[in-house]
């Protein structure tokens, strides 16, 4: 019974999502990026770390489709390998925000009282912090490097998830069926798992997708401010940030990593929109 109910819901969701051409396109681009990341060693024409100082900053050619970088490395191969880093940055930093914020929001919303007050005040404090500066200071404290960037960007989105989850829990909690379950003496964990979590999933899914987009942009901004991924890793943000010095002489150094970031961020944004429309019919125009 229940199984077919979920399947039915998924069907409805898929029919709505499919109608949004932008979202479908975004999903396809993300899928391609994931495949590229997995198959990078098989697709990339060159070793992304192999330097050739005599061919520094060559413009695109039939040999190097996207040209070579400051160390004479094949830029296409670096962008292909870079998709792994970009997806990792996005996923891990959102996971940090989601797990941290989701947990806090769940507790705050469900148990309420002093605990809720404390948690939400701490979230207010984190929200009041100017975003990029918090991330920048955190990376300076933890030391540069991809993992620390992910932590800094992730912490930044904790309060957003906490607020969203708490709000959803509060509205669900008032529903009759929860009150009913409570009256019947269901345990808290059971209520949480059976009734509240399923209702949190849709909005959290939407926010996560949109935060994936923001995470990539934030990581790139940190690279620009001098505290990002460590070379020689082929991180798009770092490539773009280093390439900006050559914007007048070798624009291909910043153009392609920039386009790569923009395309992936755009896809996450479009999929996020599509998810929201499909999951929440009230917002559907």
């Amino acid at each position: 019974m229940e199984d077919s109910g979920i399947r039915g819901q998924l069907n409805v969701f898929w029919r709505r999502f499919r109608k949004n051409r932008g979202a479908v396109l975004g999903a396809i681009i993300i899928l391609i990026t994931i495949i590229t990341a997995i198959a990078a060693p098989h697709i990339a024409p060159y070793d992304p770390y192999e330097q050739n100082w005599r061919n520094r900053m060559d413009p695109p050619s039939s040999e190097h489709w996207l040209g070579t970088d400051q160390h004479g490395r094949d830029q296409l191969s670096r962008i292909i390998y870079g998709s792994r880093l970009s997806l990792t940055i996005g996923l891990i930093s959102v996971a940090i925000g989601l797990l941290g914020g989701g947990f806090l929001g769940l507790i705050a919303g469900y148990y309420g009282g002093v605990l809720e007050n404390i948690i939400m005040r701490v979230m207010d404090i984190m929200m009041a912090f100017p975003g990029v500066l918090l991330a920048l200071a955190l990376v300076a404290a933890l030391g540069p490097g991809l993992f620390n960037v992910m932590i800094a960007v992730g912490i930044w989105s904790i309060p957003l998830f906490a607020r969203l989850v708490r709000g959803t829990v509060l509205s669900v909690k008032e529903n009759d069926f929860i009150q009913g379950a409570r009256a019947l003496g269901a345990r808290n964990t059971r209520i949480l798992a059976r009734h509240i979590l399923p209702n949190i999933v849709p909005p959290v899914l939407v926010l996560s997708t949109l935060r994936l987009a923001t995470a990539l942009l934030s990581a790139a901004a940190l690279s620009f401010l001098g505290l990002g991924a460590q070379p020689p890793q082929p991180d798009w943000g770092a490539m773009l940030s280093q390439g900006r010095q050559h914007i007048q002489t070798s624009p291909h150094l910043s153009l392609y990593p920039g386009l790569a970031i923009m395309l992936l961020v755009l896809s996450f944004n479009m999929v996020g929109d599509g998810l929201r429309d499909a999951l929440d019919p009230r917002l559907k125009n």
Binding site: Y49, Q51, W53, R54, R56, Q70, H71, A140, G143, P144, G226, L227, Q230, P231, P232, Q242, R244, Q245, H246, I247, Q248, T249
Partner: protein, 522 residues
């Protein structure tokens, strides 16, 4: 007005605005020189003046007792003449007469005494305090224009070590006492330009001092604008909204060369860049490993590829531009085979995976630490060096840190191999070699110890006769190179670009810029 009307209205308004703007950007005025700085200035009080941007402003406002001339030798500054007594234990300075600070305070021996005593005072907390206390035993005012400085130890390099530092700019005693902690917004010196205003992160404005003792500057005003992004500086220079850039990114050399409105100057400088070995790192305690890493690096090719025309490979530990430089110092040529041989002797042989391993199967691994954006192409160069070490089968980890973190790591000895530059204003060998290679040197971060090197360096400091000193320092360069406590990478050049209408621009090879003679052509 319908939607279409609204749209058309918007377009019209937009066009009008653009038309109003579509004049070329205002060029810099003819009577003003606009100079780009990499960061805002910090503190114009000489006692706390340390960083490069502030120092380039300080040089216009203040004078030293002695200045460095265009050929690198000493020239009279506020002291017209000076005498060094035989054993270099006392210096007598004969001061220029009739010089006034910008606030009208007369310059005399009292003023020199005041400035130096203030630096020595621990209460002042100057970064040069210890330097002054270590060197200066006492000062005697003979008359208004004669002062004798007595040293604790003979120091033939006293002028370089102490008198040409930022801290020893001579400031007006009256202004320092009058303004107290606000002095930095009201700095008063004797220099060619008078401080006018400082708008944080926007501009510092100086006006010419018509009574300057040397000669009155031709340009009326100098404006310094802090612009952190190198690319933005270049854009401004090329469209003519700034006149002079003193730190040109190498990426722009080609473009500036082709630009008829720009003159690009590159000249050798005293600055050296080194990779310093930490002797606490076990693998580096074997001299053969250190020598092998020398052989593993193709410096010629590296500099040629990344810094063509703006740096030259270092020849030994002392800056190539020093009068005491030993051109015949024994170097380690690029020779990967020889490197592998040396490493094999030291017990490191290639395993099946291409990595060098010792008998216990451990890989030869260490961390290469470099700052980013501090020195020309620092992180790019080290990415290339990292690659070259890796190619040899060494397991190197590249670590790019902020400059503040690097200094911390050096002090804590928390590094294996670190890339660091020494900004040198002069080619004085004691100032450079003592710091980096004497066992008590402040900049001997790797804790390199060779008693023979120590004693010969100390001898050099006590010797005032040029020929004797030259022999001493030539020898010590050979000794240091044989021990290989660091890999001297390169001597960096100046790289300056200015608008073509600027005439008679002069500078000394110590990053000090002289704006007295220059003028703008119509």
């Amino acid at each position: 007005m319908g939607k279409k009307g609204l749209l058309i209205g918007c377009l019209l308004a937009g066009l009008l605005i653009f038309a109003g703007f579509n004049a070329a950007q205002a060029q810099t005025p003819e009577d003003t020189l606009v100079v780009a700085l990499r960061a805002d200035i910090q503190d114009l009080d000489p006692a706390y003046l340390e960083d490069a941007p502030t120092s380039s402003v300080g040089f216009q406002i203040y004078d030293h007792l002695i200045r460095r001339d265009f050929d690198g030798s000493f020239a009279p500054g506020l002291a017209e003449d000076w005498e060094i007594c035989e054993d270099a234990r006392a210096y007598t300075f004969y001061l220029r007469q009739g010089v006034e600070f910008h606030d009208g305070t007369p310059f005399n021996a009292e003023a020199v005494y005041f400035n130096f005593e203030r630096l020595k005072d621990p209460e002042t907390g100057s970064h040069a305090g210890q330097l002054m206390r270590d060197n200066i035993k006492s000062m005697e005012i003979i008359d208004d224009y004669t002062i004798v400085i007595n040293l604790y130890e003979p120091n033939a390099a006293f002028i370089d070590d102490v008198l040409i530092q930022n801290a020893t700019f001579i400031a007006s005693p009256r202004a320092i006492e009058e303004y107290g902690e606000d002095y930095t917004h009201n700095p008063v010196g004797t220099g060619a330009f008078v401080f006018k205003s400082w708008t944080p992160d926007t501009e510092v404005v100086l006006e010419r001092n018509l009574d300057y003792w040397d000669q009155a500057p031709r340009i009326e005003q100098v404006k310094f604008r802090p612009i952190p992004e190198a690319g933005t500086q270049m854009t401004e220079l090329r469209i003519g909204t700034i006149d002079l850039v003193t730190t040109v990114p190498t990426e722009y050399i080609e473009i500036l060369d082709e630009d008829e409105d720009i003159v690009l100057i590159s000249e050798p400088d005293f600055n050296t860049r080194n990779l310093v070995f930490n002797f606490a790192t076990e693998v580096f305690q074997d001299v053969r490993v250190r020598q092998a890493l020398h052989h593993a690096l193709d410096l010629e090719e590296l500099i040629d590829a990344f810094l063509e025309g703006v740096a030259e490979p270092a020849i030994g530990p002392l800056t190539n531009e020093s009068l005491y430089h030993n051109p015949d110092v024994k170097l380690y040529d690029y020779d990967p085979d020889r490197a592998l041989e040396l490493l094999a002797e030291a017990g490191w042989t290639k395993g099946n995976d291409g990595l060098l391993r010792n008998e216990d199967g451990e890989t030869l691994s260490f961390t290469l630490t470099t700052p980013q954006g501090r020195y020309t192409m620092d992180s790019e160069l080290n990415e290339a060096i990292h690659y070259q070490f890796n190619q040899l089968g060494i397991d190197v980890n590249l670590e790019i840190v902020e400059f503040a973190t690097l200094l911390d790591k050096l002090d804590e000895r928390d590094f294996d191999l670190a890339y660091i530059g020494l900004m040198q204003r002069t080619g004085e060998p004691a100032a450079h070699l003592d710091l980096m290679y004497h066992s008590t040197g402040w900049a001997n971060w790797g804790d390199y110890k060779n008693p023979e090197v120590d004693s010969i360096l100390e001898k050099g400091l006590r010797t005032a006769v040029f020929e004797e000193r030259e022999e001493i320092y030539h020898k010590v360069q050979d000794m240091i190179m044989a021990d290989a406590p660091s890999i001297p990478i390169m001597n960096e050049f100046y790289l300056i670009a200015h608008r073509a209408n600027i005439q008679d621009y002069t500078f000394t090879p110590s990053r000090t810029h002289d704006y007295i003679r220059l003028y703008k052509e119509d």
